[in-house]
Symmetry: C2
Subunit: 341 residues, 2 copies
DNA sequence: AATTAAAATACAATCGATTGCATTTTAATA
DNA sequence: TATTAAAATGCAATCGATTGTATTTTAATT
């Protein structure tokens, strides 16, 4: 099998012209006569020419590619963010490289370095649960590669962010439970190194205090918020005979775990225990009972993050001031918090 | 803000040696003395050197990257395939570029061309529902870029495939319904241009025939198998007063739609109507009733596809014969086909 | 100390496309 | 037809790393 390796030089030779003219013709430069352009395009087609973007990007020092790093693509929230990113990026002629950290710091670090080495023009990130420092972003910063965080951002200033108000959302979720008559509200939280979990937790606390309910630290359970964590936490609560009438989980997955466990144990939701999740995963509309949760505008988040990133990419000479965009989130009231107690 | 742009030449100049030695030192070549290597590595670190993979890849004519093109990453089946691909690829030092066609032919075509232009070493594909020809893979074939299809493959010979036996799976699903006493089985099918849907359909047909049940073409409904399709199809069946006691859907999503619709209408599952889906999406364990479905070994499929691809990449000089690997699938019996009628 | 093989380093071409500047060709004007 | 500006094309350096070959240095041997 012979392998096709046609370059602009081959085309140039075939037409007995200079390769610079071929290059210009192929990028539709006005500096090439229409007639020549046609000849070149025709010959390129005929010879099966395929532009080598490695060479082009190397020379131009631009890849028209943005990197996306997030915990896992299978989470609906993240895949809807990706949708938003791709929409906004393709519209502007950018390609998107999607990478998942799988919640591992080491992987995240590797990915960032690979993206940097591949000279992406900018990067959009939602950090992993293991990430506690931000040194691995240095390789981007030092090369002036724009960076935008979404959702799982970092707390140090100097970065661009697209977020929701997690404090408010945590507050709303808890307030909702309180209004339904719940008084002993468990909170499933995530790693406190992540701002989002800290803020959701603070919102929870604030709502308790505002309603003159006691805050008890043994009501707060910090895990990685997997489904198995949700199940195990709930089981432990029941075994420990800790009295509670509600759970506010900082994500849907752990909330689903709780529901499965409670269903298993024959405990009625929401009659005995009410539950609120976070993120509005599709599964929350299907589980029995359906899950009250906080909706995050994933697609919009992706779009806004991309717009912000592209703005920074395009103003690279005169770096912009870091920006933080806060989007609206809202509580979706479903069966898991159905009736007042 | 000054931008870091250190090259091997800068390092070479700083140490008053030749850049070729720097290059060799950085890739740990035995041709450089240990002492020199140490000096170079130290200086590289100190100057914040970051290898430019564009240049490296251009020169080496290898990117150590494989492209993955599939309909959508949010489907659990596909994201588990990705997991398998990444595991197998990273193990061998390859990077993975994930791209979603969103079931659109045009996007698929663009993606393939971009991957080709970016000189990926190989590509793994599951085609979109709109794909009816394979000319857009020519740009890979002509350059000798290895290609492996999984799940949604193409019927023309000369390609590598990793599949399940869709005919058998379709047969099993239908046979299962028949054994549960169902006699009037609707089949939700997808575009017949895709082998998988054709084969699942043929399996369905074969099971009917084997059991002396009549095949009726008005029992077969061909759509894109979205959830809304599932709902609309089911509603139409009910409106048309077509008698049926089971549905075999060629994917879970449409089956979920059917369940939602039937639940809505107060029709009991599985008492009145039994349902079998396809792919074992996580949601199928959560819906009420839980959904009987065909499990596809996603992770393994990804691994095997990657192994096959890498084998082809590594034997590029002496092209291998196209290979088709068939993996086992199995029916998972859940509530939606619970009792015999 | 001379010889020689081996080890270390340097030189220079190369990957394929882009682009500023120089040169040639074309067409318009006097 | 000569002049000149504009249009088209050509030349050659460049992006940053790699690599085959040549040269120099080192160390081992006699």
């Amino acid at each position: 099998m012979e392998v096709n390796k046609v370059t602009i030089h081959d085309i140039a030779r075939a037409l007995d012209i200079n390769s610079s003219t071929v290059s210009r013709a192929l990028s539709d430069s006005p500096r090439v006569a229409k007639k020549t352009k046609d000849r070149i395009l025709k010959k390129a087609q005929e010879m099966g020419y395929q532009r080598n973007l490695l060479a082009s990007n190397l020379r131009k020092n631009i890849t028209n590619t943005i990197g996306v790093v997030l915990p896992r693509i299978s989470r609906h929230f993240f895949s809807s963010v990706i949708q938003g990113i791709e929409e906004a990026a393709y519209q502007e002629g950018y390609n998107v490289m999607i990478c998942q950290s799988l919640e591992q710091y080491e992987r995240e670090k590797n990915i960032i370095e690979t993206l940097a080495a591949n000279r992406v023009d900018g990067v959009i990130v939602s950090i992993s649960m293991e990430t506690v420092d931000y040194n691995h972003f240095e390789c981007l910063k030092s090369r002036g590669v724009p960076l935008v965080f979404f959702d799982r951002h970092c707390d140090i200033p100097g970065y661009n962010n697209v977020l929701i108000d997690d404090f408010q959302a945590g507050f709303d979720a808890t307030q909702h439970l309180i209004e339904k008559g719940c008084k002993k509200i468990i909170h499933f939280s995530g790693p406190q190194e992540l701002e989002i979990y800290k803020n959701r937790f603070e919102g929870y606390k604030a709502a308790l205090i505002k309603n003159d309910l006691p805050f008890r630290s043994d009501y707060v359970i910090k895990t990685r918020l997997n489904e198995v964590d949700g199940i195990a936490n709930t089981k432990k609560l029941l075994n420990d005979k800790l009295e509670f009438d509600a759970i506010f989980s900082a994500n849907d997955v752990a909330a689903i775990g709780a529901i499965k466990c409670l269903n298993e144990e024959g405990i009625r939701i929401p009659d005995d225990i009410s539950i609120v999740g976070f993120s509005n995963e599709p599964i929350s509309t299907v589980i029995n009972p359906t899950l009250t949760t906080i909706n995050q505008p994933g697609v919009e988040m992706g779009q806004r993050a991309t717009e912000l990133l592209l703005k920074n990419i395009q103003n690279k000479k005169a770096p912009l001031k870091p920006e933080t965009i806060i989007l609206d989130s809202s509580l979706i009231d479903r069966e898991s918090t159905g009736k007042s107690h």
